[in-house]
């Protein structure tokens, strides 16, 4: 039995609108151990909202409700905002899609990493500097000293994303939530970034929640996959068995992809069944 790091039970994210309450996430339950858990779905399926809701990063008027979101047995929803700040970054980190919006454009990269480190650890400036250089090396940045002095706009997308990962991993969190960390990157760079993330997660024994729209990527990279549709989990399966998925939605998504090795005249078009969004959410608990 794997040790459970995060336990989410019956999570809802609601947005009141003029037409009534819109439920972005509807009764999602899952657990996360020291594993790579993928959450896949199309835009609007609630996958990003799930990741943000765990960290309570849903901005008002959005509301997060759940029976519990337990990190090591402590319910995050009962914590004060101040305690929550200690959890974010320190124990659960998040990597966003586009590094350009996550890094401060007027601070050097080094200064930002050092600041992130000293926010969570009481360390001298020189210690923090050494640690920052170490981290940049860990994410395979060749010339860390030079990168430390550079500004975010001087970095390519792949470099920026690696720097973000380095920053997020510095406090040694127990859980890393990666929201489409590679979709803004080119294919060849994608692989590199994933490999680095994989290596670090394994070495440190972290839990990883990997949110993506790319089924093949998730099938390749994760251990277990939750497939979300209209705010609910419609299917849970082992990543290597994703291609044998049973739910018509998952099958439809897989079949709608063009493939180099199996050319077709027409791509299969997903036929949405209204029943899918009515069905109860499948539990992703182990």
């Amino acid at each position: 039995m794997m040790q459970t790091l995060l336990d989410v039970e019956n999570l809802w994210v609601k947005f009141p609108t003029r037409q009534g309450v819109f439920d972005a996430v509807r009764g999602v339950s899952f657990t996360l151990g020291k594993e790579r858990l993928g959450i896949v779905g199309e835009s609007g399926s609630g996958k990003s909202m799930t990741g943000r809701a765990i960290l309570r990063l849903i901005r008002p008027p959005g509301i997060v409700e759940a029976d519990h979101v337990k990190l090591d047995g402590v319910d995050l929803l009962r914590k004060s905002e101040k305690d929550m700040r200690a959890v974010r970054g320190q124990r659960i980190s998040m990597v966003m899609q586009d590094p350009k919006f996550s890094l401060n454009p007027v601070m050097t990269i080094g200064a930002q990493i050092i600041e992130a480190y000293r926010l969570h650890n009481s360390a001298s400036k020189t210690d923090a500097h050494t640690k920052a250089v170490e981290m940049l090396e860990a994410v395979s940045i060749r010339n860390p000293e030079r990168v430390m002095r550079a500004y975010p706009h001087e970095m390519s997308g792949g470099m920026g994303q690696r720097i973000m990962i380095a920053m997020m991993l510095i406090p040694n969190p127990e859980i890393l939530i990666a929201d489409e960390p590679t979709s803004a990157l080119d294919v060849s760079v994608q692989r590199q970034v994933l490999d680095i993330m994989d290596k670090l997660v394994k070495e440190r024994g972290m839990g990883l929640i990997f949110i993506s729209h790319d089924l093949n990527l998730v099938a390749d990279f994760c251990d277990r996959v939750l497939i979300m549709y209209a705010g609910r989990i419609v299917e849970v399966c082992d990543a290597d068995k994703l291609h044998e998925a049973k739910h018509p939605y998952t099958q439809g998504l897989l079949n709608s992809l063009p493939r180099l090795d199996a050319p077709r005249d027409r791509l299969e078009v997903l036929k949405r069944d209204p029943e899918w969004s009515k069905a109860q959410s499948v539990s992703g608990r182990v």
Partner: protein, 246 residues
């Protein structure tokens, strides 16, 4: 006959010290009725070639000919009846305050059509959007529906050559399938020639007959899709790209 001929095309931005060469000596040929793919990573200059063809990148040199007629620095109105473009991001390519009807109507009017109402109806049918979408504004449409409107706009002047700049990269995979099918159907119905830019080799493999691989502004290899499917790329960069996308 070749629909589009590009020889020694150079495109650059800025001048003197700040000059950036986006496309260097690109040469390729698209036959009439063919679907030609341009593949490469971001910054490889593939979209810039499209923009240079339609005149959105003003500083270029070399030879561009559409249906045998060379293009000068200024494009006559008749050029835009022949060549049209679909942009990458359907969220950015429709005017936020113009309804579908206004977008298509204005386009038709600019090209001198008089039976505008009938044509708007027909265009919407052609791209698989019913009449109920006619008076909607972009914010009332999904990404796929917006891209269909953008395609309808490009089809309005009845062009022969359609330039597609990553037409599905901003869309979900299930919607991508719908749009790619639509583009394939339209190509048959209207006898169109496609020049399609994409970073996704499997999309190009599905849609195109031939393709060119670009890196750092240069065309490194031109090949048939059969060669692509058989993983028979010659240039090391194309091989690398192929491996990364399988």
């Amino acid at each position: 006959m070749s629909m589009l001929q590009i020889e020694k095309l150079n495109v650059w931005f800025g001048r003197d010290r700040d000059r950036v060469d986006a496309v260097i000596d690109a040469t390729f040929d698209v036959a009439e009725g063919q679907s030609f793919g341009l593949v490469g990573e971001s910054g490889s200059g593939k979209s810039t070639i499209l923009r240079a063809i339609v005149g959105l990148a003003p500083t270029w040199s070399g030879h561009i000919a559409v249906a045998g007629a060379p293009i000068g620095k200024r494009r006559p109105k008749s050029f835009y009846k022949q060549v049209q473009m679909v942009f990458q991001d359907p969220y950015a390519s429709l005017h936020p305050r113009h309804s579908v009807d206004a977008v298509l109507g204005e386009t038709l009017q600019l090209h001198g059509f008089t039976d505008i109402d009938a044509r708007v109806v027909k265009l919407l049918d052609d791209v698989g959007l019913g009449q109920k979408f006619r008076f909607r504004y972009p914010h009332q449409l999904s990404g796929g529906q917006r891209q269909r409107v953008a395609i309808a706009r490009a089809l309005a002047p009845e062009p022969e050559l359609l330039l597609l700049d990553e037409p599905t990269s901003a869309l979900d995979v299930s919607v991508q399938a719908e749009i790619l099918n639509l583009l394939a159907d339209l190509r048959q119905e209207h006898n169109l020639t496609y020049l399609m830019v994409s970073h996704d080799l499997s999309v190009v493999g599905h849609m195109c007959d031939r393709l060119a691989v670009m890196k750092d502004g240069k065309v490194v290899e031109t090949m048939d899709v059969a060669a692509l499917r058989a993983m028979k790329a010659e240039h090391p960069y194309s091989q690398h790209l192929l491996q990364a996308s399988v």
